[in-house]
């Protein structure tokens, strides 16, 4: 099997041509900060050989560690470089169940090839007969490593890997003593950030189109919140909602035909509307603020924040019937809910007994829930495309993306290259035409 990767599929060139975009060159960020909790946990144990290329194996090991399904050690065993007669006893002594051996070689044309093979450290058997190869140019080195991580996830846990996916977020920076807002897209681990839009006016609430080819966001460039749609293929953009009052909190339906948004058409509190090509209809009649809509994967329901009961709480609205059911109790502050990609779970920001905001994960059907963070300051959760991890922002450590595994066992930070605070991170769908 052979994969071939080159970075920069159209978007970079298109963005440079069409938009006044400053493409941020890849800058190395601090080493991954990954913290696994103690307690009951049975991850898949894997030892990753160094690949003979500084840092390449680290990318794979960091990916696997962040997922919460693996415990990956990147270290040299006695068998380094010997694919077929590895010292499995040494691997097992390190707790390893699997061993990933590999080597990166420079090719004559300037490209590189990573050859790798996965062995069962208990039996000593290779999982594939021959080594696999990925050839990549220098710009795609991280992507090649992420792809090996994806392959291992698929092979050993049966889930689709998401280490090649992206995150969109707003970077709150400064230039010349003035605030600058950047809508950026980066690899899920913070590398390879690209700026889609730079603005002196505030930007908030980016949201992906389901096909990953466009973003919705809110800009204050006209002094009030207006919703825009912007293509990531050619950089074109258009206004989605610029009605009287405030236009914000956009979300696109799974079929891409409807946009839910919070509007203040009649001068009162924010209310959720559904915007189709020619229609605008209110999703629900209720008192109080109704905002932060998120479509269920089947498109039939919305999660939303409403304070009709006096405090903000999460409700699930059935669009066909207009009936809403309150999902959160026992806190005075529950906001910013997102469906898991399979629709069974939701992650949201819940104020704990110490008045700190943390991420809580709830089984929507049964109502059971668990805390995923405990440090406070957490905001804006969104699920990875395979539901193994949740990305969020943290105002206490703002210059990075924060990721927690869905089982709550691994909390990791991923620094962003530019100075500034990361707000409103949104994890991308699993693929698009440009990454």
């Amino acid at each position: 099997m052979l994969w071939r990767f080159r970075r920069g599929l159209g978007f970079l060139a298109a963005a440079v041509l069409v938009l006044p975009v400053a493409v941020v060159p890849p800058v190395s960020v601090r080493a991954a900060d990954i913290r696994a909790t103690s307690g009951e946990w049975r991850p898949i144990e894997i030892v990753v050989e160094p690949f003979g290329d500084g840092g390449f194996a680290d990318i794979i090991a960091d990916d696997l560690n962040r997922s919460g399904d693996f415990r990956a050690a990147n270290r040299r065993t006695a068998s380094f470089g010997k694919t077929n007669d590895a010292d499995y006893a040494a691997v097992r002594a390190q707790g390893g169940e699997y061993l990933l051996v590999g080597q990166v070689r420079q090719n004559a044309n300037g490209e590189s090839t990573a050859a790798f093979q996965l062995a069962d450290a208990i039996t000593g058997a290779m999982l594939d007969d021959a080594p696999l190869n990925i050839t990549f140019d220098s710009g795609a080195r991280r992507l090649a490593a992420h792809s090996i991580g994806n392959w291992i996830v698929q092979k050993l846990s049966g889930k689709a890997g998401v280490f090649h996916t992206k995150v969109a977020y707003i970077l709150h920076g400064a230039a010349g003593g003035k605030k600058v807002y950047k809508l950026q897209i980066a690899d899920y681990d913070g590398h390879n950030a690209q700026t889609v839009l730079t603005s002196r006016a505030r930007l908030i609430s980016p949201a992906w189109s389901p096909d990953g080819n466009a973003l919705l966001y809110v800009s204050f460039e006209h002094r009030k919140p207006v919703i825009y749609w912007q293509s990531l293929l050619d950089g074109s953009r258009r206004v989605i909602a610029n009605f009287k009052g405030s236009n914000s909190a956009p979300a696109m339906s799974p079929n891409g035909r409807t946009i839910a948004a919070a509007l203040t058409l009649h001068g009162g509190d924010q209310q959720i509307y559904l915007l189709d090509d020619n229609r605008r209809r209110r999703a629900r009649q209720s008192a109080g603020i109704n905002t932060e809509p998120d479509f269920s994967p089947d498109g039939g329901k919305l999660l939303m924040t409403s304070d009709e009961g006096g405090t903000p709480q999460i409700y699930q609205l059935e669009l066909a019937s207009g009936k809403a059911r309150r999902l959160t109790f026992g806190t005075r502050y529950a906001v910013n809910a997102r469906y898991s990609k399979d629709g069974a779970l939701m992650a949201y920001v819940r104020r704990d007994d110490n008045r700190r905001n943390n991420i809580s994960l709830m089984d929507i059907g049964g109502g059971a829930e668990v805390w995923l963070t405990d440090g406070g300051g957490a905001d804006s959760p969104s699920f990875a495309a395979n539901d193994t991890m949740i990305m969020f922002a943290n105002e206490n450590r703002p210059n990075r993306l924060h990721i927690v595994s869905i089982n709550g066992k691994v909390l990791s930070g991923a620094g962003v290259a530019e100075k500034g605070a990361v707000a409103d991170p949104e994890w991308s769908p699993i693929s698009s035409d440009w990454f």
Binding site: I204, A262, D269, T305, Y333, E395
Partner: protein, 184 residues
């Protein structure tokens, strides 16, 4: 009923006219005086701005919003709120009423009511909360008779913090509606 369009100075004119008439005459003629009495020149001057005399420009009249003129409630522009609340506290009613009175007296003036929140919690809920705080101040002014055209309630949410930092003091400062006049 044309007096109603005179605004502050028209109201003053009536008060002056009634006071004068009250001194000079007994009640039976007071109603007619309102209708027939031309506006006294001394208070008419700021209303009918002579186009050929810049020195008589309206802006030359003392404006109670100007802190050099008065140091009263109109100089206070901030209404503060409790955490996650949008109910206007009673202590701010005199301030809002003072601005209500000013807007009633100056129908050519318009005010922006700018809602803000502290930085905690969700960006979007804070945007909505700031809007509701601004709406709450707007509704009190509307109930006081200020026309809708004079008022615009908007929200910056957590986006324009006046105080930086994650302290109780900074958060409290940022839970606020600012009353800002359009021509300022």
């Amino acid at each position: 009923m044309k007096n109603k369009t005179f605004g502050k100075h028209g109201v003053l004119a009536l008060v002056v006219a009634l006071a004068v008439s009250g001194c000079a005459q007994k009640p039976q003629v007071s109603g007619e005086i309102i209708d027939e009495e031309p506006v006294p020149p001394v208070v008419e001057r700021p209303i009918v701005v002579p186009a050929d005399d810049p020195a008589e420009d309206f802006s030359a009249a003392p404006d109670p919003l100007d802190e050099r003129v008065t140091d009263g409630l109109l100089q206070r522009r901030a209404v503060y709120f409790a955490y996650d609340k949008s109910v206007v506290r009673e202590e701010y009613l005199p301030l809002i009423e003072a601005h209500t009175g000013y807007l009633l007296s100056n129908p050519d003036k318009g005010a922006l009511l700018e809602g803000n929140t502290d930085s905690r919690g969700s960006t979007e809920y804070n945007l909505a909360l700031g809007q509701r705080r601004a709406n709450a101040v707007r509704d009190i002014m509307s109930a006081g008779g200020v026309s809708e055209a004079q008022l615009e309630a908007l929200s910056y949410g957590e986006g324009e913090p006046r105080a930086l930092g994650n302290t109780e003091a900074a958060w409290a400062e940022n839970r606020r509606v600012d009353i800002r006049y359009r021509d300022e």
